[in-house]
């Protein structure tokens, strides 16, 4: 239509200020996080084989289907294109061993979306990280399947480095480099530290995550495992000398610290709160790993701190101008 010199009054849009908006959206944030997780997925499939690819795809598809079905059932707008259910399914699958039966990621994703997210009202309303809710459910129901890991490049069952440590076995044959590259048993998406750091770097550069949670989380875990994680039993000769680097590079710490603890919905709003949250996650992880019954503690640490988020928010309000 050619512009008219006469502006018709009844055509004008009248809306509240501000009339400018930053070029950003919830779905773009979600898809960017998905994108940042792609290298870790590729590494996982390369290390553990095609079975893990099916696990990932099934995790994603069942998350999407569950979300859509529940939204249709409750007569709300279907919003699976916003990337959030995709991300939950992806993260749930990344937290599974590579050779689990195919129904396991489905069960996990359905639970994660239904109980972890939709029951609270959907995106933004949940208290706990949905993927971790799914994982906790699977751990409670099928602990054996969830802790049987195949080694890299073959399907021979092997303990994860952390499990081996827990059982008091020596793990001399694993070098820091192997841990860094992911040449050891573990969950699909957690093993390749290199790939995870690449994705995390991307999120940092784009400003989607800040250092406050991941840095304090990893630092605290490293510090406590260094102080108390020595091979000597606590008591005589205990303290200082724990293999902190081994703890940082093993298990789900890097995946959890950069991609799960940083979930906006379930972490504190202010930077001060995020630092407290990160320290809490790190301390709980170290406590579970050193003194707890599980070799790994990242998911439970994050879930517990998720529960603490409202109270952290309450006591870390921002300073009001002139107060």
């Amino acid at each position: 239509m050619p512009p008219k010199d006469e502006i018709k009054d009844n055509r004008l849009t009248v809306s509240f200020s501000p009339h400018l908006h930053k070029d950003e959206s919830v779905s773009r944030i979600m898809w960017m996080v998905v994108l940042s997780l792609v290298p870790a997925g590729i590494a996982g499939v390369a290390i553990f084989g095609l079975n893990s690819l099916w696990v990932i795809l099934l995790g994603i598809i069942s998350a999407l289907v569950t979300e859509a079905a529940l939204q249709v059932a409750t007569k709300r707008k279907v919003s699976i294109s916003d990337g959030s259910a995709f991300l939950t399914g992806l993260l749930l699958a990344y937290n599974l061993p590579p050779d689990v039966p195919f129904w396991l990621p489905i069960a996990g994703s359905v639970f994660a979306i239904a109980i972890g997210k939709q029951i609270f009202g959907g995106l933004g309303q949940n208290i706990f990280n949905p993927a971790l809710v799914g994982r906790a459910f699977l751990m409670a129901c099928w602990p054996k399947l969830m802790t049987t890991f195949s080694g890299p490049f073959d399907a021979i069952t092997q303990a994860t480095p952390l499990a081996a440590l827990k059982e008091g076995k020596l793990i001399e044959h694993i070098s820091y480099l192997d841990l860094f590259l992911g040449k050891h048993g573990g969950c699909i998406g957690e093993v390749s530290i290199l790939a995870l750091l690449l994705g995390a770097l991307f999120l940092f550069i784009r400003g989607y995550i800040s250092w406050h949670i991941p840095f304090t989380f990893i630092f605290t875990t490293g510090l406590i495992t260094f102080i108390f994680g020595g091979t000597q039993p606590l008591g005589a000769g205990a303290g200082f000398g724990g293999d902190w680097l081994f703890h940082i590079l093993s298990g789900g710490l890097i995946l959890g610290a950069f991609f799960m603890a940083t979930d906006y919905v379930t972490s504190p709003l202010t930077r001060k709160g995020q630092i407290i949250f990160g320290i809490g996650c790190g301390a709980l992880t170290a406590v579970i790993r050193i003194w707890g019954g599980y070799p790994e503690g990242v998911s439970y640490a994050i879930l517990m701190m998720n529960a603490a988020t409202p109270i952290i928010d309450r006591y870390t309000k921002t300073r009001v101008y002139g107060a």
Partner: protein, 425 residues
């Protein structure tokens, strides 16, 4: 505070042009914060440019003057840029622009003026804050306790607007003469002129002129909302106005450059406030400009002067895009607080659908008042006014930044404005 896309390039280097006078001026009786003015002319009466046509209705009020010469056509309800509709005095322009005998004052006369006399001149000239708030200026020249610092606000932080910038470049000396009047009137020791670093020509002009003066030029980073009074005080002086207090409580008064220029015109030239600089801009216009416009000129004349239109405007904003008001008709007139007219096209004016808050905290980090907008919004939606108040909603300066940064397109600012209203009941 956030650095915004400026959109100032299309008008920042364009000298102020005089817009031809309107055939009819529609002069609303409310152009300031405070009581609506009382008309002093009747239909059929002849008026001169600059003649007083409405009187004050109390202390917080301002005189209104005719912006053209001619005949009063009547008093009517007319579209108003802020109130929607308001009574306006309509004046038919006779095209003569006959003025009352101008009353310029000599420097000697001005030097002899007492603060009381200056305030009276400003009061008679109907001057209000020209940055957009339109608080009557004579009151701000008479703070209830002594002040020691005057800050001249040359931040012009709203995107698109360049009127203050042009004024600072083209009327540097006059503004400084105005500053001297205000300085003397307030009896302050320190004068700080604050300009954002995206206005290099203004900074150059002022630093050249300031060699002879004892005023301090403070160049600030371009951040929105730098021009907010309290934000400017923090960034230019390094101190904060305590919660619930006003700048004069810490010995500071802030005046906008446009206001200071109006004070200069009133004191030196004896000219009341009947015209102002308005930036007319936006992608829809072929020739965006900075215009000197008579109060009461309908928007359509400003738009036509900057046309032809490249595309149909979808939204027309009076003021800047962050705090300005969307208009429903181009019949609305320019008033004393009209800083700009921004025409947005369909794409720019698209109103996005509101989604759920994902607690990303972007609003919390952006808020220049240190509030947590997402939490006030939740309280406001549930109409929990006591809770909104506990989250300090009353400290909101309504700058719109939370709304701007929100990835979920939540209507934060409006919901906080509502909370402010309800919580202060």
């Amino acid at each position: 505070m956030v650095r915004l896309e400026e959109h100032k390039h299309s008008t920042e280097n364009k000298a102020i042009e005089k817009l031809p006078l309107p055939a009819k001026a529609y002069i609303p009786l409310s152009q300031h914060l405070g009581k609506i003015s009382i008309p002093e002319v009747k239909a059929g009466e002849g008026v001169l440019t600059g003649q007083r046509i409405a009187g004050v209705a109390g202390h917080v009020s301002a005189f209104i003057h005719s912006s053209v010469s001619g005949k009063v056509a009547g008093l009517e309800e007319w579209p108003h840029p802020i109130l929607g509709r308001c009574r306006a005095i309509i004046i038919e322009n006779d095209g003569q622009d006959k003025s009352q005998i101008p009353n310029p004052r000599s420097q000697i006369e001005i030097d002899r003026l007492t603060p009381e006399q200056v305030r009276n001149i400003v009061f008679e000239a109907g001057i209000v804050g020209m940055g957009g708030a339109s608080f009557p200026t004579h009151i701000k020249l008479n703070p209830p306790k002594p002040v020691d610092t005057l800050v001249i606000n040359g931040a012009e932080c709203e995107p698109y607007l360049t009127g203050d910038y042009r004024l600072m470049v083209e009327k540097t000396k006059e503004i400084l003469q105005g500053v001297a009047i205000v300085e003397k009137c307030l009896g302050v020791k320190n004068v700080v002129i604050a300009i954002e670093d995206n206005k290099p020509e203004a900074i150059k002009a002022f630093s050249q002129e300031l060699r002879a003066e004892s005023y301090e030029l403070r160049v600030l980073k371009s951040l929105y909302p730098q021009g907010g009074e309290k934000q400017l005080i923090r960034n230019a002086l390094g101190k904060e106005v305590p919660q619930g207090k006003l700048p004069f409580d810490i010995g500071v008064v802030v005046h906008n450059v446009g206001t200071v220029y109006a004070i200069y015109e009133a004191v030196y030239l004896g000219k009341p406030l009947y015209e102002r600089v308005v930036t007319v801009t936006g992608t829809c216009l072929t020739n965006p400009k900075n215009l000197l416009v008579r109060i009461g000129t309908p928007l359509k004349e400003l738009i036509a002067y900057c046309g032809p239109l490249k595309e149909d405007p979808e939204k027309i904003i009076i003021g800047g895009p962050m705090m300005g008001m969307a208009q429903y008709t181009t019949d609305v007139p320019v008033i004393k607080s009209t800083t700009g007219v921004v025409l947005l096209n369909k794409k720019e004016a698209l109103v996005q659908e509101e989604e759920f808050c994902i607690r990303c905290g972007a609003c919390v980090r952006a808020c220049p008042a240190g509030l947590m907008p997402c939490l006030i919004n939740l309280a406001s939606e549930k109409e929990l006014w006591a809770q909104a108040k506990a989250y300090n909603c009353l400290d909101c300066i309504e700058c719109g930044l939370c709304n701007y940064v929100c990835p979920a397109n939540r209507i934060l600012t409006q919901s906080i404005k509502r909370a402010k209203q309800e919580a202060s009941k």
